[in-house]
Symmetry: C2
């Protein structure tokens, strides 16, 4: 059939774990392969993966295969799932821009997976992947070498406008390639898949460059160490701080594993320029005057155990903070991180150190995402038949819809879908296809292995309700409880423990006394003890702990 | 000694669980008795209490007693801990303003505690409590009858400026009593204890009244139900919505236990005026045209199981949401609640219903706290010798300090202290006193009982690391493990379980084989199995689950 199936496996509604499938006549093109970040209810979990079970099932069919993958840019939520996902899929080519390729391959290497992401420069020819003709278009965002992807297919063309903004004066001078966007527009665009994260924000997103002067000014007034924290991938922000440090004769020290890694890659590929004697390692800063130091430190989201958290709590081996230092948070809080960021800021403030953060100053961070006007500009330039917002919450998609209406799109041309919802495009229309059930795929914080949903459920239950272990000796001869059952609880209060101990013993005895004779079915006995206990505990203390009955045959 | 000891038991740094002790010659005056709210790391806990162990110890001394308590206003974080704290303290008088007293007594009643909070109107005479002369001064805030407290003592006067703003055109017309503040100022103020929550915000906090027009306008354009959610205690906001509903012939329905309760009290005391036929119960709204309804719904902070969450998820028995309805969030997110609020907004947006929230409109909420200029105005009017910020995070206290500097206070006159830090005031100076160690006092979400810290620690460990139960039969004759130990795990992955099973059996056997002979000390055997297991598990899967060894004597 002459149609294209578009399915988001992640990235819609939940912002992160971006992964999109474009399938045409059994050829599947994957765009992005990103991580999600767990919230606090997902106990012991740090990362989430897109659910690829549909994809795995699909490629088991005859005549269906993955023709290739393209990555839009080097942020974790667009490429971080590669080490988890690639080993589970057959081989296919993967293309992306140079810095994105380097960051992806480094990440794969860390996990012991072969780095097979191929780099393609913006100037190079388009790539033909089966029926798909792919063109990378440079856009500005908060990491260099970010791209939008123009996808030509036999039934029409798609413009995949993943994370972008229109920075007309980017710090590295590498502007959005408007000429190439216009050229794509001329070829006709069936649907614009567009970033919508900034759709609730009015106006245009300001240029990264407006921060330079503020950083220089603040640095100049700083009598001690100048400490700036931002996302490790925000190379442009790091470059601005480095630029200011050069002028003011401060040496630069990268602190934190991720920042050190990114700065190495960026320097190697020429995205960061730093004379050799200007960089200094953390262990050597004790030999420097504080006034001659710029520390670029990981941990802007208040992550526990980050370099900045350790510095703030006086636990960092090489770095102490002093009242003359200044700490600048050059990043906005990601929703959900507010409390830990606030508490980190408080820890630093308690040392008497000046902290500059979003609530007291807007001068040190701009968003990497397009705002309302930019999003409408993108619609205007690409001039698509239809639009489909991606990479935002549902509310942001609704805000995007309102912008699209202002741009003259009728409601049937504005496609709001959820993850797992197939959209079927044919030459003249787009209709809803099947809805795929997607699960949450959790990566355990400690083992870094994928764990099952029921493990999280167990953890949630135990953490809130506690655990009760009931050890009962049961006579094989008559099926009666011998002696007093041993009851161990964890996560319950003393009072509750006492109540349970008192009530349960009797209830268990009477529950088992109703049957008599030799025990034939030990599983039944165990189950029965569990049921009676769960019931009895709920009745007496209104709690549903995880009950583990243990039967000892005597 | 002629000095006064001031000790915050809560409210400084953590914003909530406000409770302050003023002690003069063995007489303790308590100001406020508020709850704290647990963060997501406090598993199975919803509420926190101020730690009163110092107070309990103190009043055990001869010649020390609690002379009385005063409450500044009717917010949970200032009076919500009463039902938990009062039963643990001896009897003493408690005074506050009429609405605050009604809300407090209602709360005590719910918990089966005698409601003994006495109401005093603003016009009445000052109260003499031992050496303290107390005067309630009306201020504007987001709940009616909010007060600042002027405390006269033999060594000097204190102005306790708990939560306030300067709303010059409050919706209920009851303005801040500037005359009384000025009069207090004339008597001389030794120290101003001041709200500092808004110290990071520039300018003045706008009046509540500016919202009226916006609410009316939005309501007028709403074709379906007009649904407004705010804090239950924000009676002024509720009144504005009710006022608009009157004009537009909409009936009013309060939805959610807390809102129904507050509206009843407010109506009874005359703080809310609603003709009898204008109010309607949830069960009757099915008989009304949607266009004739205003729903005032609890759940503006995205609380699970709140009325609004149940409506959004289609789980409310009487109320369905439709695309013609409009839902207005008339409250800013409290830090930490962002994710659940976002997800609630998304659920509503998915129904096609218009949602108005802080990110897309500033027109429906103003803060109840003073901003920078208001805080400086308060310093100006009260003209104290010293200032001491309360009720804010440390960063907000630092921001307040910067404002105080602008008002000409030298650093030694700006007192930044943490909870538990005693400040000793004498006629001519203020010095730091002892530092009291304060613990976290948790209230269990289910039992509503106070639980110990180690219970939370157990829950945290189990929730992140899982639990492993090791049941080993040990021969009493020779102390050796008989058969294979039974290992039960929860919260661990299949792989980890398999690894543990395989490795641990051997390790346990060899650990015990080193000793031989009859078992004399079963506790030692149990402990040894626990240690070997913890060690073995950490070595094999890098995890520290809660290990519960169970030894069965055979």
């Amino acid at each position: 059939m002459n149609q294209l199936s578009f399915i988001p496996l992640g990235g819609i509604g939940d912002v992160t774990k971006n992964m999109y499938l474009y399938e045409y006549q059994g050829q599947i093109l994957i765009v992005d392969c990103g991580l999600g970040f767990a919230d606090e209810t997902m106990l012991g979990v740090e990362l989430l993966l897109p659910d690829i079970s549909y994809l795995l099932k699909r490629i088991r069919s005859a005549n269906v295969k993955i023709i290739g993958m393209v990555l839009t840019h080097g942020h974790e939520d667009h490429m971080g799932a590669l080490p988890f996902i690639l080993p589970r899929l057959p081989n296919f080519p993967i293309f992306t821009t140079p810095l994105t390729a380097a960051l992806s391959n480094e990440k794969l290497k860390e996990f012991g997976v072969l780095g097979r992401v191929q780099s393609i420069a913006f100037g190079e020819n388009d790539i033909q992947l089966g029926a798909f003709k792919i063109s990378f278009i440079r856009v500005t965002h908060s990491v260099p070498d970010s791209s939008n992807i123009f996808i030509k297919t036999p039934i029409g063309n798609f413009y995949h406008a993943s994370d972008f903004k229109f920075d007309l004066t980017p710090f590295d001078g590498k502007k959005t390639d408007f000429a190439k966007i216009t050229a794509a527009s001329k070829e006709g665009i069936m649907c614009l898949m567009s970033d919508c994260l900034g759709a609730e924000r009015e106006g245009h997103t300001p240029s990264e460059r407006i921060l330079s002067e503020n950083i220089e000014q603040e640095m100049r007034e700083t009598q001690g160490k100048f400490i700036l924290t931002t996302y490790s991938s925000n190379i442009s922000r790091l470059n601005q701080a480095i630029h200011a440090a050069k002028k003011q004769n401060r040496k630069v020290c990268f602190v934190g594993r991720s920042l050190v890694k990114v700065s190495k890659i960026a320097q190697k590929l020429g995205y960061m320029k730093l004379e050799k004697d200007m960089e200094i390692e953390a262990k050597d800063i004790k030999n420097c005057n504080d006034k001659e130091l710029l520390l670029l430190v990981a941990g802007s989201q208040g992550q526990q155990n980050s370099a900045l958290a350790r510095i703030a709590n006086g636990e960092h081996r090489e770095i102490r903070i002093s009242p003359l230092d200044v700490v600048v948070f050059s990043a906005d809080p990601i929703p959900g991180n507010e409390l830990s960021i606030n508490s980190l800021i408080d820890s630093i403030a308690k040392k008497g150190t000046r902290v500059v953060y979003s609530k007291i100053s807007d001068d040190f961070h701009v968003s990497g995402h397009a705002s309302s006007e930019d999003l409408m500009l993108m619609m205007s330039i690409t001039n698509p038949k239809k639009v489909l917002p991606i990479g935002g919450t549902y509310s942001q998609m609704v805000a995007y819809k309102n912008l699209a209406r202002k741009q003259g799109f009728s409601d049937d041309k504005i496609l709001l879908i959820e993850n797992g919802q197939e959209m079927i495009f044919s030459k003249d229309k787009a209709i809803l296809g099947k809805k795929i059930e997607l699960g949450n795929i959790y990566v355990d914080e400690i083992s870094e292995e994928v764990i099952d949903h029921f493990v999280i459920r167990d953890r949630q239950q135990i953490s809130k309700e506690g655990v009760v272990i009931i050890m009962a000796e049961v006579s094989a001869a008559n099926g009666q409880i011998v002696g007093k059952p041993n009851i161990i609880t964890r996560g319950l209060s003393h009072q509750e423990q006492a109540i349970i101990n008192k009530k349960l013993t009797k209830e268990l005895e009477s529950a088992l006394s109703r049957r008599l004779g030799r025990v034939a079915d030990w599983v039944y006995i165990r189950k029965r003890i569990g049921e009676v206990a769960e019931d009895g505990i709920f009745k007496s203390v209104h709690r549903r702990p995880l009950v583990l009955p243990v039967v000892i045959e005597v």
